[in-house]
Each structure stands twice: as C-alpha cells, then as structure tokens.
C-alpha cells in the first residue's frame, strides 16, 4: 500500500534520482573503459574529471544568442526529470500520491520537447538549431506510442494513480501480459532522454547538435539532465510494469531499488549496442505500425477489465 510522504520528501527525491543517475553514468563509463581494453579501476576517473572540468569551464558566448531561452531550455531538462520523479514510489512511500500520477509523468517528460527546442534555438548557431529541430521530429514519432503504453498500464489498473497501478500487479506483473507496452515504454524512455538509438539530436554528424554550443556549467546541467531523465524513466518502469516494491524477503524499498537498477542496467548496456537512428527512418514505422499496435495493446487490459 503506497502512502504519501511528508512535504520535505520533495527535496529528497532529486537526491535519490541523482544517485541512480550517477550509478548509470559510472556503469556507462565502466562499459566504455572495458570496451577500450583498459583496466576497470579507471572507470570512475572519466565522469569525475569531466564533471570537474565542466564546473570550472568558461561558458561559450555566441553572437546574438537568446540567453533567456537558452538557459531556460538547458535548465528545464533536469527539472523535467526531477518533476517527473515526484510520482514514482520508492517502496511504499511516494513524494506525491496525486490521483493523476501517470498523466503528470507524461506531462513532465513532454516538457523536454520545449526544453530541447529552446536549448537548440537559444544558441543562435546552425548546428544547435538543427539538433533542436531533430528532437521535435523524433518526439513526434515516439510520443504517441509512449502515451498509449502509459494508458495501457493505467487501464490495466483502472486508475491513473500510480499507487493503484502497483496494487493491481499483486498477482501478475503488467510487463508479462502487456509486453508490447513495456517495450514501447522503454523505447520512449530512450526517446525523451535522447540517449542510445534516439541520440539523433546530439549526433556526432552535427558536432553534438543540441550540445554543440553548450559549455561549462550549462553542459554539465544538460548532460546530467539526460541521465536524470533516463533514471526517472527507469524508476517509473518499476511501478508501471514491474510490480513496484513487491517481492519476498527484502523490504519494499530494497525491491524498488533492485528493480530500478536492473532496468537501468539493461538501458545502459543496450545504449552502447544500438546504433543511432535517423528520425525520418522510423517516423513512418512509429505512426503506421507502433500506434495501431499500442492501441491494440491498450485494448487488451480494457477487455480483461470488462470480462472480470
């Protein structure tokens, strides 16, 4: 039974989210170091040194940049992740037990659309602008299937409250009888954190696209924002599809942490295995194949609820 925590837990949620994101970043650095054939103990040096460098680095100033929109866009990326994480239950406690938690999560991750468009526009640089527009293009492709996947999970529990969705999985996880929704959701997590196959807006063919002109603290903020969004997405997969904090022996918060780390491990590992996709190659696939598939998937829990 998920209960709401007191108001000060809103400040603890970013810390926990940052912890999971840091673990993901270190795991990714470990995989990179092992892939390069160097010993594993050098893994932590990469992210730590990069963070220190960016903290003291100078901000790049471009000609006639829209500083207000630029900073606002860069700041909104981690802010969206942290706001989305407010409805994720950790064990049996959640910072906000709002009755429309699933829609809130959806709305907060849609904020990344505005954030990355502004971050691409604000720099007044061609490649940065192209990167921002690329994010809107891929957003149009992944957003509707992701929304339908979230609706499938909510329909299975007949409620938009994340706590009710956890309670409805006491017999069987949603990932087992709604696998298409789970896979579409994981793809959507890559989409809104523009990592892995959806790193098109920050692609190397654009000299890092959206990230091209961002430097210094701004770069640290937006890169941290990507990993925070990935951690928030992985964290939300647990109550939506993997049964929340339920499990034998260990306390609920431990099961939440283990399941979140498992999803994060899969996402971080797969990120290095999948090539970056161009948005126009899968836009038709997303609209013509994935949306009908997601609609049919959303019908499955509806029919199950009707016959129960």
């Amino acid at each position: 039974m998920v209960t709401s925590a007191p108001l000060w837990s809103v400040l603890v949620v970013p810390v926990i989210l940052a912890g999971f994101a840091a673990i993901a970043v270190l795991a990714d650095a470990l995989l990179a170091v092992r892939a390069a054939g160097r010993p594993a103990r050098l893994a932590a040096a990469g992210p730590v040194a990069e963070t220190a460098r960016l903290l003291v680095g100078q901000r790049r100033v471009t000609l006639a940049s829209d500083a207000l929109l630029w900073r606002l866009g860069v700041l909104t990326v981690p802010a969206a992740g942290m706001l989305a994480a407010l409805v994720i239950p950790f064990g049996t406690v959640t910072a906000s037990r709002m009755s429309v938690g699933v829609v809130w999560f959806n709305a907060m991750e849609v904020l990344t659309w505005a954030a990355l468009w502004m971050a691409g526009w604000g720099a007044n640089a061609a490649l940065s602008l192209v990167g921002g527009y690329r994010y809107v293009a891929q957003g149009l492709a992944y957003e509707l299937p992701l929304m339908l996947a979230l609706i499938s999970a909510a329909t299975g529990a007949q409620s938009l409250n994340v706590a009710d969705i956890v309670a409805a999985q006491s017999h069987l996880w949603f990932a087992v009888w709604m696998p298409a929704a789970f896979l579409v959701y994981l793809a959507g997590v890559y989409g809104f954190s523009f990592l892995g196959p959806f790193a098109y807006p920050a692609g190397t063919d654009l000299a890092s696209g959206v990230l091209a002109e961002v430097s210094g603290v701004d770069r640290l903020v937006i890169e941290a924002g990507r990993w925070l969004l990935l951690a928030a997405g992985a964290g939300m997969a647990v109550p939506l599809f993997l049964g929340g904090g339920t499990g034998p022996l260990l306390p609920p918060w431990a099961w939440s942490a283990i399941k979140t780390l498992a999803v994060l491990a899969v996402l971080t590992w797969a990120r290095r295995r999948l090539p970056v996709l161009r948005a126009d190659r899968y836009a038709e696939l997303a609209w013509v194949v994935l949306i009908p598939l997601s609609v049919v998937q959303a019908l499955v829990p509806a029919l199950v609820d009707l016959t129960r």
Partner: protein, 186 residues
C-alpha cells in the same frame, strides 16, 4: 495559500498573454503563450480539475512547440533582431478589445449568479469519464469524428503531392515515389 497561488497564476497568465503581442522575437512569443497556458492548467488544478489541468499542460506544451516550428518558418523576423510592428488598425482593435472587456466585466459583476448546486465529486476524473462514456456519448462521438476530419483535412491541405504525383499517372507505380522514404517500405 491557495489564494496566493491563484493570484500568482492569474497574473502570470494575463501578463504572459499580453507579452505575446509585445515581444519582437517569435520564439519568445510562442514560449510566452506556453507559459500562459501552463498558468491556466495550474488554475484548473486549483479548481479541483486535476486531470483536465494536467492534460491542458501536456497538450499545450506539445502544441506550442509545434506552433514554434511554424512561427519560425512563416514569420519574417523570427529572432526579433530587428524591431518590427506588423499591425493593422491598432487603435480600432484596442478599442474593441477594451469595450469587450468592459462589457464582460459588467456582466460578471452585475449578473445574479445562482448558488452552487451540489457538491464536488470525490473523483472529478471518474465523473468526466463516466459522463463521456455514458450520457455524453454523442459529444464524444462528435469530437472523435471532428478530430478525424481535422487530421484528414490538414494533411490534404498541407501536402503538395497528390496521388498522381506519388503513384504515377495510371496510379500503378509501387513503391510510391516520395522525397523521403519511410521506414516501412510501402
């Protein structure tokens, strides 16, 4: 507490709505309209319409980003680097707007509003859902058909290429000739 939040959101909505027509940069204009919508969504949440408020926030962020793409494409001074005034009949429209507001405000304060009938439901979302699926099913069907017609009409209006451009004069060319090949290979 809720009164303070109401005043903040109301002033934010009105101010950012007004700034839509004052900014020179089209990007700032669109973001300002987005902020106005976010404030309206917040006000709906204050009124107890949690689901509709969050849905307004979600939809309006997406719609404003798409609107930003079109604004930048079609407006001639997108970055606002030059001061620009593209108005016609500024005084007349200001007069009409002020008169409209005065009439509406007079109506608001002079109308004898009826008393509240009934109490708010425990779950406003369930109330909306039950109504749309039950007594308001006709509205739901009409909205659905309107959206379908909109989708078809918008694509038909916006596409430059028709069937004969894609499939050839005898409509027999397969696969269709498109400038960008989709991912499904149809």
């Amino acid at each position: 507490m809720t009164t303070a939040v109401f005043w903040v959101l109301a002033l934010l909505a009105a101010a950012s709505g007004f700034m839509v027509f004052r900014f020179n940069s089209m990007a700032r204009v669109t973001i300002s309209l987005m902020v106005s919508f976010l404030a309206s969504g917040g006000l709906l949440v204050l009124l107890g319409l949690g689901y509709l408020g969050v849905v307004v926030i979600l939809m309006m962020v997406m719609e404003m980003v798409i609107m930003a793409v079109f604004m930048i494409a079609y407006m001639m001074n997108p970055a606002g680097l030059m001061p620009m005034a593209m108005f016609h009949n500024k005084r007349g429209s200001l007069a009409i707007a002020v008169v409209t507001f005065a009439l509406l405000a007079a109506g608001i304060f002079l109308t004898p509003w009826p008393h509240r009938s009934g109490a708010p439901p425990r779950d406003a979302t369930r109330q909306l859902g039950t109504a749309l699926m039950g007594s308001q099913m006709l509205t739901m069907i009409t909205l659905g058909f309107t959206l379908l017609a909109t989708m078809v009409g918008a694509v038909v209006l916006a596409t430059q290429r028709g069937r004969y451009d894609r499939f050839g004069d005898d409509l027999k060319r397969r696969p269709p000739s498109d400038p960008v090949r989709g991912g499904v290979g149809r």
